[in-house]
Structures are given as structure tokens and as C-alpha cells.
């Protein structure tokens, strides 16, 4: 049973042999001699003569630079971005979580003549050790206080340290993903370079118009 099948197959493998590799190098990428020279800010010839040891290292492929993985804006990473100012302690997120791993304790706060009664958030813990990053809590949050984050290198040695408290959430760098938050989709947001410091930047849904407010709060009551 000898035919053309095998040679044709070898043509395919040969084609693939010479096409550029698609492998993503992570967490470090090899840069080679020219890359190393560029990193050092010299031209390759000068680099070769002034630092022979480093050049040899780069030549055999030991010179590396850390690299960020390409990820899309909606990527659900292993962290959360939380804006406490916006959270009303409504606990929708906790009720919506399939695993029940969000703990919220709230106490009655101040009573404002205009805004009415409000609640103060005492405890907001997420056990991300058990979280499956499904994003349902983010979907449930009516006030855009909770967002998925884009980072994923979050491994720890003990499970206790995976319980994220309100303070840790507030202190963490805010790199929200656009999962269920279309307002982040408009501006192209690079999760590796940009950090949202001010919560006003994070965008809200559009402010309701005066007509809408009247219909909702006056006419329908």
C-alpha cells in the first residue's frame, strides 16, 4: 500500500517546520544578542566587545526580559476591584454568588434628610481560594462597586491569606476588566500599564435625565 499519501503529508510537516513559531514565552521572553544590546542601549558591535560575558549569555539564549501575556479586555482574572465609596452594602453580590463565599456585615449608618437611611460596610470578605471567577457577583452589583480584575498571578502559600478583606481590596492596584462593565470597553485599557487610581475615572452608567427621575420617583409612586 504505497501511494502519494505519505509524501504529501511530509510536505505539510515541512511547511509547518519553516513557519514562524506561535509559542508564547511566559513569564520571560528570550531576546537574543540584538535584543540584549538594545536593552543596554548600545549598538550590537559595541555591546559584543565591551561586555563579552553578557553577549555570550545572550547569544546562547539566557538573556530574558519579563513579558506580559496578551489578554482581552474582558479577561476575568483572579482578583477583584472594589470601590468602597460606591458600595451600599446591599449584599446582592453575596446572594448571587453560587458558592456563597462573600461575607458582608453592615450596620445602620447615618440618616440623611435627603438620601434617607444608609448602611455602613463593616466587613467585606471574599474567599478567593474557593472562588471560581464566574463573575456573577460583578453582574449582580447594581452600583458598579465591584469589578473583576485582570491580574492572575495571585498564588499564596496558605489558604488563609487568600481571604481578601475590605482593606486589602481598597489598597490593591485597581486594574478592572471590562467584564460586564461596558463603560471600560470604550477606552482601550491596557491592564499592564494603566492603573485606575481615582474612582471617578472608572466610569459609571449614564446619569438618568430629570424626566426619568421624575417618572421613576414621582409619577410611579
Amino acid at each position: 500500500m504505497i501511494g502519494l499519501g505519505l509524501p504529501r503529508g511530509f510536505v505539510v510537516t515541512l511547511k509547518n517546520f519553516i513557519r514562524p513559531a506561535v509559542t508564547e514565552q511566559y513569564p520571560d521572553r528570550r531576546i537574543g544578542l540584538f535584543g540584549a544590546a538594545k536593552e543596554a542601549g548600545m549598538n550590537p558591535v559595541r555591546f559584543l566587545f565591551s561586555r563579552p560575558k553578557e553577549s555570550f549569555k545572550a547569544f546562547v539564549g539566557l538573556a530574558t526580559v519579563p513579558v506580559a501575556v496578551k489578554q482581552s479586555a474582558r479577561f476575568r482574572g483572579n482578583e477583584f476591584v472594589f470601590f468602597e465609596d460606591r458600595c451600599t452594602a446591599c449584599a446582592s453580590c453575596a446572594k448571587y454568588c453560587p458558592l456563597g463565599i462573600i461575607e458582608i456585615v453592615s450596620v445602620p449608618g447615618k440618616i440623611d434628610a435627603q438620601e434617607g437611611e444608609s448602611y455602613k460596610l463593616e466587613v467585606f470578605d471574599i474567599d478567593i481560594g474557593r472562588c471560581m471567577f464566574c463573575g456573577l457577583c460583578v453582574e449582580a452589583c447594581p452600583y458598579d462597586a465591584l469589578h473583576m480584575g485582570t491580574q492572575f498571578e495571585r498564588s499564596k502559600y496558605v489558604r488563609d491569606s487568600l481571604v481578601i478583606t475590605k482593606e486589602e481590596l481598597g489598597a490593591a492596584l485597581k486594574r478592572p476588566s471590562s467584564f460586564y462593565r461596558p463603560q471600560f470597553e470604550e477606552k482601550t485599557f491596557d491592564p499592564f500599564l494603566e492603573v485606575i487610581e481615582d474612582f471617578h475615572d472608572a466610569g459609571r452608567h449614564e446619569r438618568p435625565s430629570a424626566d426619568e427621575l421624575k417618572r421613576k420617583w414621582v409619577d410611579e409612586r
Partner: protein
């Protein structure tokens, strides 16, 4: 003949690299020939059906992702159709088109994995598998754009999908479709005419169509025996009646036929995606929360919906008692039912064909054990 020979029993698995998961077979050999096979499974049982009884209808989506983890989008799809039927929800057109595109992409990804691993089991270590995986990676990137996750998608919601596709999705989809077609062509030149593949797969593990029908086998395995049974044709759900595609049939019903049917079905899926992209129109991707609240309480009753999954008929049976979570959920797992003919396929065959046959069934242990 005074001296008697004895068959030897060998335990294959549960941690055998060729069993595609934690699956164990107790095989009795008489030399090279297989005398008896006893499949043992349940190592990956997580009780998903029971867990569903204490989650709300939307939360159960996350469980369906983890059943057949090579085709989670199709599981989401089947489950959501069952919820919609149970609660009488009218889906939004754009959401339906989007989930059809996602499902067909997932079918290609799943068939690529099946083809790659079949060849891996044949002894083609690496090369075809890597080609297939490279293309699957493309599809997973598309899923990441759509829903932010690659495997555990949870993309579908009652009445559609949770979010519209981002702008960069459409050009990326267009590029990927070309790439996928090239890879299928490549696989075909590489394998479909390959003499070694022929001699190893043709005429092995032949199953008569009557036996397949009696054992209620579905999917590519059934179509490889010449029985025209594709739920997308027979019982069109969603908008499958608005797209045209060919029925892929082969009559040999051997391992090669199963491989061939899968490869051709990928081409048909590409056609379906092209037609979906042409027909998709702007609009909401899911009904608003005024129409369908977050917490659905379907009326008392039950619903069964089956779709054409990547491995066969994938059905979800839901019973509601009027509460916020299903009273009972049952999954008709195609992998489990396709497994039932393993004995008939293997007995009388040779040891060398065991894993090839096993690979041609395209099992997923996450779905078998749930």
C-alpha cells in the same frame, strides 16, 4: 492438548495517559486478542446534578461548564434552552445568533481535540495533536474576547448571552475562520490520504447501524454508520432552520469513518458560522431585567431539551416546583451513552487497536461522571 493457556487480566487506568481522563478498564487478553472488557468509571463524579438543586437557575450555568469541559459552550447552550422552555422565555434574536456562533466554534474546537487525540492514540506522537491544539487556541482566544474565560465560559444567560461581542471580535473571527479552514485542509492532506492511518483505522471496530440505534448512540459515531440523525436537521432549535449545511454521512462505521465524519463536520460548522455572521442584526443580546428578572421562578412542570452536542445528543431535563432552583436536573450525557458499546467494539479486536477505538469514541470523563 494437555496444557491449557490462561487469559491475562490487565488494569488500564485510571491514571493511564491514553484513557483521556480518569477512566479504568479491566481488560482480559488472550495473547494479543481482547477477550473481555469491563469499564470502571466514576472517579470524576462531582454530583453536579445534585448541586444544581440548591442553586438558582442562573447559577447552575457555572456547573454545566464543568461537565464536558472540552465543549462548555454547548453545555451552556443546552441548559439555557431547557431553562427557556421551562420558564417560557422568548430569547432575543441577537443573543441567539451569538450563541449559535459560539456553539459552532466550540464544536470545531471539540472535534479538533478529538481528531488530535485519536491520532495521538494511533502513535502519531505530537504532530497532528499540536496542529489541532494550535487552532483550538485561536478559538479559545475568541472565547476570551466574548466572555473573559477560555474554558469555563458561563457565557449564556436565560434569553441570550450576557454581553454583546466586543468590536475587535468580528475581525478576529474572520481571521480565525480562514486559519481554521487552512488547518482542516492541512489535516486532511496530512492524514486523510495517509496509508498508515488507513491501515490502522479502516475496518477496525465496525459496528452495525442496528446495534448503534438500539444502544441509542448519537453524534458522529452514529452518522459514521450511515444513519442520518442530526438534531440540527431533525429538530432545529434556535435558528438552525435558517442556515444551510450538508449532512455528513459515511457508511463504513469503522474508526476511519468516525474520524472522517468529524473532520467534514468542522467544515460544515464553518459554513454555519459564515451564515450566522451574515444574518446577525443589531439589537439587545438578552431580554431586559424588567421582562426577565434575575431570579427566575418557572411554573411547576418539567422540560427536556436536547441539542446536537459535539459528542452526540446532549439533553437537559429540568423539573420545577415553582421555586427559585430546579427541583431535579438530569443530564443526558452523550459520552456516557456512547461508552456503552465499548465492549462490542473491542472484543475480538487486537490490543494495538484498543486505544485507537477508545479515541474514536471521543469520550470526555467530565461528562461521563458529572
Amino acid at each position: 492438548m494437555a496444557i491449557k493457556t490462561q487469559p491475562v487480566t490487565v488494569n488500564l487506568g485510571p491514571q493511564h495517559p491514553s484513557t483521556h481522563g480518569v477512566f479504568r478498564m479491566r481488560v482480559m487478553f488472550d495473547g494479543e486478542e481482547i477477550v473481555d472488557v469491563e469499564p470502571v468509571f466514576g472517579y470524576l463524579h462531582r454530583g453536579s446534578e445534585k448541586l444544581a438543586e440548591e442553586r438558582t437557575y442562573t447559577q447552575v450555568v457555572t456547573l454545566t461548564d464543568r461537565m464536558d469541559y472540552v465543549s462548555s459552550m454547548l453545555n451552556n447552550h443546552a441548559y439555557m434552552l431547557a431553562v427557556e422552555k421551562l420558564a417560557g422565555i422568548e430569547p432575543s434574536p441577537r443573543g441567539v445568533w451569538l450563541r449559535m456562533i459560539a456553539s459552532e466554534l466550540q464544536r470545531i474546537a471539540s472535534h479538533l481535540v478529538a481528531t488530535g487525540f485519536l491520532l495521538q492514540d494511533l502513535g502519531a506522537l505530537g504532530t497532528p495533536l499540536i496542529y489541532a491544539m494550535r487552532e483550538r487556541e485561536n478559538i479559545l482566544d475568541l472565547f476570551e474576547m466574548l466572555c473573559g474565560a477560555r474554558i469555563t465560559n458561563s457565557y449564556l444567560r436565560p434569553g441570550g448571552v450576557f454581553m454583546d461581542a466586543p468590536d475587535e471580535f468580528w475581525p478576529a473571527l474572520k481571521r480565525s475562520l480562514v486559519d481554521i479552514l487552512n488547518t482542516i485542509d492541512e489535516l486532511e492532506t496530512y492524514l486523510s490520504g495517509n496509508e498508515i492511518v488507513f491501515s490502522r483505522t479502516k475496518g477496525t471496530a465496525v459496528l452495525p447501524p442496528e446495534l448503534l440505534i438500539n444502544a441509542s448512540i448519537t453524534g458522529p459515531m452514529l452518522r459514521a454508520s450511515g444513519v442520518d440523525w442530526d438534531l440540527r436537521h431533525r429538530n432545529p432549535y434556535d435558528y438552525y432552520d435558517k442556515v444551510q449545511f450538508n449532512r455528513i454521512l459515511h457508511t463504513a462505521s469503522d474508526n476511519y469513518a468516525r474520524y472522517w465524519v468529524r473532520v467534514q463536520e468542522m467544515r460544515e460548522s464553518l459554513k454555519i458560522i459564515h451564515q450566522c455572521v451574515e444574518q446577525i442584526e443589531p439589537g439587545p443580546v438578552r431580554p431586559s431585567f424588567d421582562e426577565i428578572p434575575r431570579l427566575i421562578r418557572p411554573p411547576v412542570g418539567d422540560a427536556y431539551v436536547a441539542i446536537e452536542g459535539s459528542k452526540g445528543e446532549l439533553g437537559f431535563y429540568l423539573v420545577s416546583d415553582g421555586g427559585i432552583s430546579p427541583y431535579r436536573m438530569h443530564v443526558r450525557a452523550s459520552s456516557l451513552i456512547n461508552l456503552t458499546l465499548l465492549r462490542d467494539m473491542l472484543i475480538g479486536g487486537l490490543f494495538g487497536d484498543l486505544f485507537v477505538t477508545f479515541g474514536s469514541v471521543d469520550l470526555n470523563m467530565g461528562e461521563v461522571d458529572r
